[in-house]
Symmetry: C2
Subunit: 141 residues, 2 copies
């Protein structure tokens, strides 16, 4: 597992990021994505299939088939991807693991963690795939 995302989710984000850098009407194969991103082929296949059934990607079989974003990258934000793969544990669960922790009965870190959680959510909601892709290209030189 990564820091806050599962490995599946990290792979999903990496793949989507790459898809956003491709021409909007072209399809990219698992083979190509797996090679470029150094992700196990069949593992990535499952993840992409899952993203397809959840409506985030389109898929097409046969030669010249592959995957593509189902919507323009401006309209996909990070949180929808994260939610599709990892769910919303970040939003709900107590950071110290107390099951009884909540608004009316907060643990000692509840409020301070709340600020951080909001920052994370804001980051994930405000970042569209388009923005992310643009900044990624800038940062690679």
């Amino acid at each position: 597992m990564g820091i806050i995302f599962s490995r599946q989710c990290e792979y999903a984000l990496q793949a989507i990021l790459h898809l956003a850098s491709q021409p909007r009407d072209s399809m990219t194969s698992i083979r190509e994505l797996a090679a470029k991103l150094d992700i196990p082929y069949h593992f990535l296949a499952k993840i992409l299939q899952s993203l397809a059934t959840k409506g985030i990607l389109n898929s097409q079989r046969g030669p010249a088939g592959g995957f593509a974003l189902s919507k323009p990258p401006e309209e996909i934000n990070l949180i929808s991807v994260v939610e599709a793969i990892d769910g919303l544990a970040i939003s709900n669960q107590c950071v110290l693991g107390f099951p009884e922790c909540g608004g009316s009965n907060p643990c000692a870190l509840h409020h301070q963690w709340g600020d951080i959680r909001e920052a994370v959510q804001k980051m994930l909601m405000n970042k569209s795939i388009a923005k992310l892709s643009r900044e990624t290209r800038l940062s690679r030189t």
Copy 2:
């Protein structure tokens, strides 16, 4: 796994939090901690042993034995506990899982995540177990 801490780490923090609420010179047994915090006995035992070998707890065998904080709770901060159990992955690893991500070659979320990471670290460093314990007692009523 919890949100950012492993379950082991959550249990460790919960246990230490409870120890901080006990008289400084008394020992608390695994049995009591496991019951109060609803943590599997032997699993907690391992965690406490690990914290003991790392110098965060003192332990004593035999009847009336158990565990106690090795230092006054004012002198223990959260990050030392987290580091002892989970290591420093939060500080080092890329949030998107890119192995090549770093200061000179940042991923698209690197800087924004950096702010959040710092907030987390600040939270963990500034919070002593004493503070945490005090605020926990306040919040339970």
